[in-house]
């Protein structure tokens, strides 16, 4: 049989993605994506809901994420922790995650346990509220507060995303606050909030379910119908409470210096970039790869290896939908180093993308290609990408065009992007400076 990805026999290192995709939509609005691959007896079940921290209102920050925790507290026919118990017992893995624009839930199982995942996922989509009570909510508030303490408050640099988002996005913008939210808002959450959030967002017409891996498509669709079709469609999801419109550039260099108990100086420089849904996002992605993907890329070569001003570097283009997205570059310096020198060194490298060359674009694409194929070896990753592209773009087949989309970016576009988006008129700089005593 022909695999989901083939290499071009004439051109070394060029792969063609032919991941099979079947789309359906139930009468209640649930979108279904099926991608069969029977080479290993594994199936991934993946649901994306069109709700994330961007949908939160004032005073309710962190709620999308707290709600995600509540989704594991049982539903009408499933006991508290039953979801974990049954999937683990079946030899599967599972989790969920909350982000700016979406919340996802997923199981990867031996394929003969597919129906278990469909039963569990449909029970919490259709019948969650009868199982909610104050004890479960209080317990998960404590768990989430400890998650915040562990990952953010008790961690050097742990509050970086909260600070950076507030610099890049103005107050009132859906991305101004972090996904984890504030302790006060988490504390204030009530059972009524849980119910109203569920009724507003956890609807079949605001969700995608993707199956990837070992199943028979006809049988799988039958099972999905059996478990999900009787869950009633809800009202349309309300528009964002906060206005996502924002100027394409920050307009200046905003800078925040945090003197704290950190071991090493760190400078994080972020830029507003076109949203994920824009054609220009591909340019930002490739520019990001030129800067930070691999050891031949600019930041590692120049800052880590040659100039030795940075111990480590990171770059990332956030795929965000509302108004503007964000590209960031960070560098962690050595003890005793002046943060001004580190910031200047980063600025020099991002500005020098004006002189980007074709060879480095090709290299960045080659590396991205292997990384994508490696990710797609796992049905769980395949399912997650398909859900993303279905939910955000009504276009799961985009997964098969990802490489073409990136290959189409020219070196001239990268150079122009450096001029238009990476200059001092579009920078948020967050600086962590070690306390004298550290």
């Amino acid at each position: 049989m022909v695999g989901a990805i083939q290499l071009d026999p004439k051109e070394p290192g060029v792969s063609r993605l032919t991941i099979p995709i079947e789309r359906h939509r139930l009468d209640n609005g649930l979108k279904v994506v099926l991608s069969q691959d029977r080479t290993v007896p594994v199936v991934a079940v993946n649901l994306w809901y069109g709700v994330g921290s961007r949908n939160e209102t004032e005073g309710k920050t962190g709620f999308a994420h707290l709600f995600e925790h509540m989704m594991f507290q049982g539903s009408q026919h499933v006991s508290k922790n039953g979801h974990f118990e049954m999937v683990e017992r079946a030899g599967g893995s599972l989790n969920g995650s909350t982000w700016f624009d979406r919340t996802n839930y997923y199981e990867t199982l031996p394929s003969h346990e597919l129906e278990l995942a469909l039963w569990l996922e449909s029970d919490r989509l259709g019948f969650m509220l009868p199982a909610m009570d104050q004890d479960k909510l209080d317990n998960q508030k404590d768990v989430v507060k400890n998650e915040k303490r562990q990952r953010y408050d008790n961690q050097p640099y742990g509050d970086w995303d909260e600070r950076l988002q507030a610099l890049v996005y103005p107050k009132g913008h859906p991305y101004h606050h972090p996904v984890i939210g504030s302790m006060e808002d988490i504390d204030a959450a009530t059972l009524e909030d849980v119910a109203s959030f569920f009724e507003t967002f956890y609807l079949p017409n605001n969700a995608v379910i993707t199956l990837a891996g070992d199943f028979d498509s006809g049988e799988a669709l039958g099972l999905i119908n059996q478990y999900f079709a009787d869950i009633p469609r809800g009202a349309d999801v309300p528009p964002l409470a906060k206005d996502p419109t924002v100027a394409p550039l920050i307009g200046e260099t905003v800078r925040q210096i945090v003197v704290s108990d950190v071991p090493l100086p760190r400078v994080i420089m972020a830029f507003r970039i076109p949203p994920f849904s824009s054609d220009d996002f591909a340019v930002a992605e490739v520019a990001q790869a030129l800067l930070g993907q691999g050891r031949a890329a600019r930041l590692y070569r120049r800052l880590v290896r040659e100039r030795r001003v940075a111990k480590s570097v990171v770059s990332y283009a956030f795929p965000l939908l509302s108004g503007a997205s964000m590209l960031l570059v960070w560098a962690t310096g050595y003890p005793g180093m002046e943060h001004q020198a580190l910031e200047a060194a980063i600025a020099e490298e991002v500005e020098d993308l004006r002189n980007a060359e074709t060879a480095e674009v090709e290299r960045a694409i080659a590396l991205t290609e292997t990384d994508l194929v490696r990710a797609l070896e796992r049905v769980s990753e395949r399912a997650d990408l398909l859900s993303a592209f279905e939910l955000h773009f009504d276009d799961p087949d985009r997964v098969n065009r990802e490489l073409d989309r990136l290959r189409a970016v020219s070196v001239d576009q990268i150079r122009a992007f450096a001029d238009s988006h990476l200059g001092p008129d579009n920078r948020a700089v967050l600086i962590y400076d070690p306390k004298e005593s550290s």
Binding site: P12, F84, G92, E113, W119, Q150, N154, T370
Partner: protein, 450 residues
């Protein structure tokens, strides 16, 4: 179709049998142990070259030399600079990485299948012909010193490092961090690295694992072509016993004023990879703290809300590694969390495991194994474990049967033999002012602020 009864968990479908891929052993003329597995799902290849240049073979004075030498391999070869090497690899989309541990060093490669012929010689050049230029070696040392500084200010890393010192016999390799100390890192000079490679980067006791969409004959030709000159054995590791004399249970608090949480480690020396109790003990650990629905997580997280999560683990090494429970909890519930952790350990050791939880852990373990055979990298890592720990060739083919054969009695006996709640060393990194009083009131052992 009958109406759906949602009160019933659906029955499982028919199990599809799936075997660990067939592995071909093709010993090379110079003695290298080559193992090749064909996995043609997707056009990827994973290469792991393992050899016995590990931290366990180094005295305290040289601690970190194996790790730093591995890190400095990317600094370039006799034929090309570090940047040129990175360019050559990345322009064909190849990623390489070096991992150094107690047992040895692994040099790994991942690339598209039709790039193997170009990428493999570059990987071998990196390992066989490193140049260690002064500026690159200086950089790697500076990076390591900075990393050690980061560990001291990261509460989780600080707790793990302190616990490591408390569990193991002083002066034995396992009692220190893998990356060396501020003092020993300075000894990792260019000359030291060149000498280390000369004597320790040797094929005997190691091997080459290649997995993916490939032809084993071609892999053999490549390996013969580029590794025919590589010969010899590294010096034998001087045997050591990492177990300290019998310990009293004790609590050590590392003061981090103003901490909103306490990082907690509770443990002692566990078992070696070669223990006959390996499967039973792994199952025992799973039900104590190895899964989401383990006793510890259900108690500390889902019942009490003390923490975002708690895990227990055995580090199975050539000699006994650590057994440890790790968690981070609110400062005000630190003593409560220690009490509940000790309760769960004691309860498991004294009361033994139940049939049902052993069955659940067996099912989980056997099932999850099958999920982890999807990628070339996953299978390559498994085969490397065979080389590293001298496991039988058919170890992974029999893995699920071995898991399924574990009985409740074996689990209870293994837990009794390898978990000793009376001897645990408890490390707490947190606000001493908030936690010392309640920890003393617990009365489970002396409390020392270190």
């Amino acid at each position: 179709m009958s109406p759906l009864d949602r009160t019933l968990q659906p029955a499982s479908g028919a199990i599809r049998h799936f075997d660990f891929p067939e592995v071909e052993r093709r010993p090379l003329s110079q003695g290298l142990d080559l193992r090749v597995a064909r996995l043609s799902r997707l056009p990827m290849v994973s290469v792991n070259l393992f050899f016995r240049a590990g931290e366990a073979g180094l005295s305290d004075e040289w601690a970190g030399l194996a790790v730093l030498t591995g890190d400095a391999l990317e600094g370039g070869t006799k034929r090309r600079s570090g940047s040129a090497l990175a360019e050559a690899l990345e322009s064909i989309g190849a990623r390489t990485g070096v991992t150094t541990g107690w047992e040895g060093t692994s040099v790994a490669l991942s690339c598209l299948a039709d790039r193997l012929e170009e990428a493999m010689p570059l990987l071998i050049e990196t390992m066989r012909e490193p140049d260690f230029p002064e500026d690159e070696v200086d950089r790697v040392r500076e990076q390591q010193l900075a990393a050690l500084r980061q560990r001291k200010m990261d509460p989780g890393a600080l707790a793990s490092d302190e616990a490591t010192r408390r569990y193991f016999a002083a002066g034995q390799p396992y009692a220190r961090g893998q990356g060396g100390t501020e003092e020993s890192v300075g000894a990792a000079t260019t000359d030291a690295m060149r000498g280390y490679v000369e004597s320790n980067y040797r094929p005997e006791g190691g091997g080459l694992v290649v997995v993916g969409d490939l032809d084993p004959d071609e892999v053999e030709v490549l390996a013969e072509r580029y590794l025919s000159e590589w010969r010899g054995a590294p010096p034998a590791v001087v045997d050591f016993d990492p177990r300290p004399p019998k310990q009293e249970r004790a609590i050590f608090v590392v003061d981090r004023p103003g901490s909103v949480q306490s990082e907690i480690r509770v443990g002692h020396v566990g078992a070696s990879r070669s223990t006959p109790d390996y499967f039973a003990l792994s199952i025992g650990n799973m039900l104590l703290g190895g899964t989401f629905t383990s006793r510890l997580n259900l108690n500390l997280r889902e019942k009490n809300g003390f923490t975002y999560g708690v895990r227990s683990s055995f580090g199975f090494r050539s000699r006994p590694g650590p057994f440890q429970v790790s968690t981070a909890v609110g400062s005000e519930v630190t003593a409560d969390a220690v009490r509940e952790t000790l309760f769960e350990m004691q309860h498991l050791v004294e009361g033994g495991a139940t049939e049902d939880e052993v069955a659940a852990a067996r099912d989980y373990s056997a099932g999850i194994f099958g999920l982890q055979l999807e990628t070339a990298g996953q299978i390559g890592s498994r085969l490397s474990q065979i080389l590293m720990h001298g496991l039988d060739d058919d170890y992974y083919h029999r893995y699920r049967d071995n898991v399924r054969g574990v009985t409740t009695e074996q689990v209870s006996a293994a837990v009794r033999a390898h978990m000793r709640p009376d001897e645990v060393q408890i490390v707490v990194v947190g606000d001493a002012e908030a936690v010392v009083g309640p920890l003393q009131e617990l009365g489970v052992g002396s409390v020392t602020v270190v």
